[in-house]
Each structure stands twice: as C-alpha cells, then as structure tokens.
Amino acid sequence: MPKSKSDRIFRIIAYASVAISAAIYLYPFYLLILISLRADVFSWPPELFPRNPDFSGYTAIFSHPAFLEWLTNSFIYTICISLGTILMASITGYAFSRLNFPGKTYLFWLILGLMMIPGIVSYIPLYVMLAKMKLLSTYWGIIIPPIASPYSAFLLKQSFDAIPRDYEECAYIDGASRLTIIFRIFLPLAKPALVTLTLFQFVWNWNNFAWPLFVATSPRFWNLPLGIWNLTWSYTRDFWTLASGGVILMIVPFILYLIGIEYFLRGIIVTGLKK
C-alpha cells in the first residue's frame, strides 16, 4: 500500500527533526555537565560518556566559603518573593475581579500602566532610595520591593474573572468573610492559573540576578546566580568548578520544569508568559 510508505517517510522525518532539535537544545547543557565531571571534551571525538567521572569540581564549589550562604539566600529569596507575590496578587486580583469601589477603573489603568515600566530601569532610583533608607544588603530590602507585582495581580484578576459567581455567593450568604472566600474558594478554583504563576515565579526569582546585583551590595547577600556569575568573570577557579556551579544552579528550575511542564506550556500558550 502506498499509504504505508509515505507513513514511514513521515515517521523518519518526525524522528529526525525531533532528534536534531533535541540535540541543538540539550547539547549545551550536556556539555556543561560533561565539563563539570572533568570529561575530556577537548579531544576529537569528544568524550561523550565520561569513563571515570571526577566529582572534584563539586567538592571544590561546595567548599567555597560563600557557596552555602548563596544557596541558602537563593532559597530564601525565591520562596519569600514568590509566595509574597502570589499572596498580594490574589487579594488584589480578587478585589478587582469581584468588588465594586470608587476609582476602580482608574486604579486598574494604573496597574496596566505600571506593567509597562521596565523593572531594570527603576532599579537605579530604587537603589539610591534603598541606600538612603539603609536597606541595601538586608533581607527586607531585597525581598519586599519586588513583591508588589502588577503583572501577577493582573494575571490573577483575569483568571478570577473566569470563575462563575454562584460559588462565592453561597459562601457569602453563609456569612463567610472575604479572606475565607479568597483562600477557600477562589484559590482552589483558580488552581491551574495559580500553579502556573507560582511555577513561573519560582523560576524567575531563582534565576534573577539583576535585582540582587543592585541591592545585595555585600557578597554575603548574593544569591547563587550572582555568586556564580561573579566567580565566572573573576577567572580564579578551575573551569570544572565553575561548571559544577552552573549545573547546581540549573537543577532547581530543571526539576520544577520536569514536574510542571504542562503548566509551563499552559502559561506560555494561554497568557504568553515569558522569561
């Protein structure tokens, strides 16, 4: 049958194109892992499967005096900023989605306007401001400013708008408070949007190094990306040590990505979320 022949060609093209794109997209990461294991990547053909992996890069990076501090900071910043953002975006989004109050339209326009301000541009006046408030290189100064995110509030408002009103009206008649309604009814109902936003927030905040670059003036308050980045340009470490740092850095987002790839896809397709 002619059909089966074209089918086979189709399948070959499909496999080939997936293999090529997977190679283009995965090889840089694989190379980094190879270097971190001290495989011989400089010879030709390169050693693609390390015969005797050497973990000395990893022990070296862990014994760097500040490494554990940076790692801890990364976890603290990521968790606090992400959860704070989601919390604030939920209550703000709920108010804009469901409640009527004077000036609502103007305040909503204000949120839309704020979304257009490129973050990094406002970091400079923010830095001068925080310096005067003596908040540079403090946990407060690093965590509080990014928490009020107009973008997240806008996104949650949009997904709350899609929830039918019947649910909350029952709860309201039963005498539930606003906060109960938000946390017991809205957030569970908006779960897909919420999980998507949370995952993106975690990844963004984990990878963010422009913000700590500004406000974490003391190396003790750097997060992991900033610390590793500074090591890279100081040329004082072995490259397998640096590569180990790069690999450790990508483990957290990689795990989140593997767990929640459906949510990441959803975030990109439905709301156009970006890096």
């Binding site: 189709f10 093209i13 499909a14 194109s17 997936v18 794109s21 997977a22 283009i24 997209y25 840089p28 990461f29 190379l31 980094l32 990547v41 390169p46 604030m88 108010a95 409640l99 009527n100 109050f101 609502k104 305040l107 979304m115 257009m116 301000i117 490129p118 990094i120 541009v121 400079i124 006046p125 923010l126 001068v128 509080i144 400013p145 990014p146 009020a148 990844v203 990878n207 190094f209 422009a210 590793i228 980045w229 890279t232 340009w233 640096l242 790069g246 690999v247 850095l249 990508m250 987002p253 989140l256 990505y257 593997l258 790839i261 990441f264 990109i268 397709i269 156009g272 970006k274 890096k275």
Partner: protein, 298 residues
Amino acid sequence: MKSKEERGKRMRLREARDAFLLILPFFVLVSIFSIYPVYQGINLCFYKVMLPEDKYIGLRNFERLRTDNVLTLTLQNTVYYGLFQMLGIVLAILPALLVNSIIMQARPRLRWLFQAAVLLPMVIGWVTLGMAWNWMFLIGAGALAAGRPGAVTVSPLARIETALPTVGLILIWAILGYNTILFLAGLRSIPKVMYEAAQIDGATNWQAFRYVTLPAMKPMLTFMIVTGFIGAFQVFDPVATLTNGGPGWYSASIVFYMVRQAWYALDYGYAAAIGLVVLTIVFTLSLIQFRIIYKRYV
C-alpha cells in the same frame, strides 16, 4: 422600602471598605517601590549623585547623552538585538509548520520530548546558559583551529566583529522554542473548515498558507514583533552572562551600559538619564502593543 434601600447602600459601603482594605497593601508597596522610583528617576537626571549631598547640574546629563558615542553604539546594538528577535519570530514559522504537520501526528512521547527540549532555555537562567554557550564556542573554535597550524583559539564571543551577531544567534536559540510553541497554538486554533474551503476552491498549499494561515496569524505576529522589540530594550542578562558587554562595548545593550554607568562609574544621575531614554522607548512601544490588543478584543 426605605430600609431596603438603606441596606443596599450599607452593603455597597461595606464592599468598598473591604475592597480598599484588600488593595491597600499592594498600592502602598507599588507607590513606594514602583511609582516613586519613576519620579525619583526623572529627578535624578538633573543631579550628580554624591556625598554628602547630591549636586544639581541642570541639563548636563542630557547634553552628555547627545554626545556620548558609547550610548549611540549600545543603542545601535540594542536595535540589532531587536532585529535578531524578529528573525527569531520569522524562523519559528517553519518549525511550527513542520511540527504541526508531522510531529503532532507522531507519538505523544516524541511530541513531549520536542516541546520539553525547545522550551528548556526558558526556565534555565542566563548564568547557566551563558556559561554553557561560552564553552560551546570555545571548544568549537578549538576544534576549528586544531587542523590548521598557526590558527588561534578565539571564541567568536570574544572577537569584535562576531561578538554581537553571536549573542544575537544565542538569543534566537533561546527564544525560538518559545515562538514555535506560540505559533503552534495559533496554527491549531485555525478552524479546519477554512483549509477545506480553500482546497475546494482549488488553492495550492502555498496559497492556503498565504491566504488562510498568514491572515489568521497576523494579530499574533504583530503582538510578537512588538513584544520582541520591548524585550530587546531590556536585554541585560544575556549580555552580562555571555560577553559582559565586551569586547569593549561591541556587544553591550543600552540597559547594560546603564547598569555599568551606575555600577562602575558610580554616576547614578547619568544612569538615570539613560534609563529615561529606555523608559520612553519601552513606553511608546507598549502603547503601540496596547493599541493592537485593544483593537483585537474591543
């Protein structure tokens, strides 16, 4: 009758009170950390930030903007990065069509692998990406130089002529998967009936693409083009991690230059003036984007 009206009024008052309490924390934070900095940023442009007190220097920062060659260069680089983003959009059309007609019909496992691989640069931070690509190019340059005696191992990221296009290509690599997935979603939302109608009318594949697919994708395309340029004017991480702006300023974006002015020259006033330029451009582009969305939905 009257009591019912009064009760309604009281309910509305309570609703407004609740609403204000709920949005208060957000707007307090936003006023301090987003709105005030914009005002403060415009203010800073007229000063030289120094201790013990900032010095008012009038329009001198703006005059410097006009004559600053590095600013012109970095602005030009930024426009190039914007063009590379455009290229990343155009180039994504082909894989999207390919995926739509071939890989989507293939096994779900294969589809999963494709999507997972091409979206990976979206979630891995630029510090890791920058490191990985620096090694890719260094090893590649080494392999190229190996066969020729006298050739030097220089990564294209470290050479004046190639630094900018190389960063641009890596930007394309990072965004291509994302664009492909977006296009794919767009393609799959075009009703099959339209293609059947085109087929009945005797349209060729190319004509179907030209007169059915493209018009249906147009709003998405314009949206992506504008967001691409907005993105280019905020490029910082890729430059900082791939080349650190070098060699010289040949791969620096305008935002990178701004950060350098604040960070190494400690000239916050001038950095704020550059920031104002970026802000103006981004704001204008955002308004255009907003008009596009507005026209689409309202």
